[in-house]
């Protein structure tokens, strides 16, 4: 019973950020149980992603080799990882804190009748394992103990710093990961729920989760039309526009633009929060931003405790003034 197995997600070979966070936490764990860091990958481009994993400390990467599992099937992928877990006997199986990370690992946990601990921020191996995990999407921490033959963990998003891994330098010194094809047993029952179609994102749009700058609006924006000023500022900064739950519940913005506990978690370089008071529901969605600038009429609103910078004032005056100043410096 040694080593750690990580479910690694990727988009056509490019590693998912939350999976990189899971790899960092997994590598830090190996000083405990020891043994190899291994990975499991699925889908088109998996072999490319697998080869790049040596830089992340992975010794062997198991690439699932079955056309029936090429398209995402939560139960099928979970079954494959459960089979790999039985074959490799790792001390822990870890996934990123993504939709798929939670979902696939929960299938592993359910079908092997084991406990699973989600949104872990800190972990020490042992008997019992000692963990700190997020509740309320990170506005509360729980210290917990886990007694299990295999620790099944997901890693809280945007808590573990991935910058510590320098792929370039590490790739030069680290041995490449061994890429091992893995052909699991496949039960048709586990393929019933699978992705059967895809709809591409709207062309040309900057996704909120990838944007370097996000301009967010709250109750203070006042209307759907009020977002035009935020759109203009975001456009000048190459950013994207989102909103608080108030805004999506009022129908001013589509729900897919919601930043918060029941919407998106964003991690831009700068988040500009306009007319947002800062309920916990919203703060947990934006606190991974490197910097937060709040524009708000109320200097005592909760957003001020989360923000790094603030302008006190009406966003409908302040935002257009910023936009005008950027245009003026750009020469008109």
């Amino acid at each position: 019973m040694s080593g750690v197995l990580v479910f690694v997600e990727h988009a056509a070979g490019e590693l998912d950020r939350l999976s990189r966070e899971a790899l960092v936490l997994a590598a830090s764990l190996l000083s405990g149980p020891g043994g190899p860091l291994e990975a499991a990958l699925f889908g088109p481009g998996a072999a490319d992603a697998a080869r790049s994993l040596g830089a992340h400390g992975v010794a062997s990467a198991h690439v699932v080799d079955d056309a029936r599992l090429a398209s995402y099937a939560p139960a099928g992928w979970g079954a494959a990882i459960a089979e790999l877990m039985a074959a490799r006997s790792p001390a822990a199986v870890i996934a990123g804190g993504s939709d798929r990370g939670h979902e696939v690992l929960a299938h592993v946990a359910a079908r092997t009748a084991r406990p699973m601990v989600t949104n872990v921020v800190d972990v020490t191996a042992g008997d019992p394992w000692r963990l700190t995990r997020q509740r309320w999407a990170g506005s509360l921490l729980e210290d917990a103990e886990l007694s299990a033959e295999v620790a099944l963990l997901t890693v809280a998003p945007h808590v573990v710093p991935v910058e510590e891994v320098d792929p370039g330098a590490a790739a030069a010194s680290a041995p490449a990961a061994a890429v091992l094809p893995f052909a699991p047993q496949v039960n048709e029952r586990d393929l019933v729920a699978r992705v059967t179609g895809r709809e591409a994102p709207v062309a040309g749009s900057v996704s909120l989760t990838d944007a370097k700058v996000v301009v967010g609006g709250g109750r203070g924006v006042g209307s759907a039309e009020g977002f035009a000023e935020l759109e203009e500022l975001a456009g000048l900064l190459g950013g994207a526009v989102g909103g608080s739950r108030v805004v999506t519940s009022a129908g001013w913005r589509p729900h897919s633009d919601q930043i918060g506990q029941t919407g998106l978690r964003i991690a831009p370089d700068l988040y500009i929060a306009c007319g947002i008071s800062g309920a916990i529901q919203h703060i947990v969605g934006c606190k991974a931003a490197k910097r937060i600038l709040a524009i708000n009429t109320d200097p005592d609103s909760p957003i001020m405790a989360a923000a790094d910078y603030a302008v006190i004032g009406d966003l409908h005056q302040v935002v257009p003034a910023i936009t005008a100043e950027i245009r003026r410096r750009a020469g008109g």
Binding site: P115, E142, S147, E199, S205, L237, L270
Partner: protein, 257 residues
């Protein structure tokens, strides 16, 4: 269509969380209670499906006696009947919770027939375990997908969509009976009417005492995360602050100088 929707009573936390002196619970003395927005949408969806296609909607919760309030909230917007898996206040872990729900579903289905669809919120607002729906589905040997934000039921099949990693949507076609965990945005939940509230007040609630068990995890205690930085640096007041803001944008590298 026979629909079961599972919800969880949680405090409405608002702007700040306070803990009890022993650090074991949230101090709820001054808080109201609610269910997660995901679950509000699950309840609304169950009611809409029954309105459009007939059948009945049932709401289930595992929680203390006071969780009756959340069951009546669901019945006030049109859910037909309610089941309370009444705990003694001890926290049930995800394994114990899903076992209790599976047991209740088996009993209900033996008496009233099969649920075509069992709905959950994507994750509980408080513990965020992301697993109870999947554990229930695996135990019942039914297909399950989480994160659903769009749903159509036609000819015994659930056509469901969820947001894909990196943007866009992915679609699923799942034969019923099935289990789905849904996210806020699936619909816009209605407010309860006064007659709806009155009707809900008079309805019977079926009560079951579920078995508590410990399954490998122990909560040691809760604590608040350390505050990062005390308070925002105030750059100024009103639109005259714009040049200072633009200087900042240049300094932190989000705007070319």
């Amino acid at each position: 269509m026979e629909i079961l929707v599972c919800v969880k009573r949680v405090p409405a936390t608002g702007g700040r969380i306070a803990l009890t002196p022993d650090g074991q619970e949230i101090d709820t003395r001054y808080l109201g209670f609610t269910v997660s927005p995901h679950e509000e949408c699950a309840v609304e969806e169950a009611v809409r499906i029954v309105e459009a296609q007939g059948g009945s909607a049932t709401v289930l919760t595992l929680g203390p006696a006071a969780a009756e309030e959340q069951l009546r909230d669901a019945m006030a917007v049109g859910v037909d009947r309610a089941i309370l898996l009444e705990t003694d206040g001890r926290e049930f872990d995800p394994v114990a919770t899903s076992s209790a729900i599976v047991e209740a579903i088996r009993v209900q289905e033996a008496a009233h027939g099969r649920f075509d669809l069992v709905l959950f919120g994507n994750e509980a607002a408080d513990t965020g375990d992301f697993q109870v729906g999947i554990r229930v589905a695996v135990a019942l040997d039914r297909p399950v997908v989480t994160g659903i934000k769009s749903l159509t039921l036609r000819d015994g099949t659930a056509f469901a969509r969820r947001e894909a990693t990196g943007g866009g949507w992915e679609t699923y076609e799942i034969p019923l009976p099935a289990v789905l965990s849904v996210k806020e945005g699936l619909n816009l939940p209605r407010y309860p009417s006064v007659p709806g509230r009155l009707r809900a007040k008079r309805k019977e609630i079926e009560r079951i005492q579920p078995a508590w068990s410990r399954n490998g995890t122990v909560k040691v205690g809760l604590r608040l995360p350390e505050e990062e930085g005390a308070h925002a640096e105030i750059l100024g007041n009103g639109p005259d602050t714009a040049p200072t803001v633009v200087d900042l944008l240049v300094r932190i590298g989000v705007l070319a100088s």
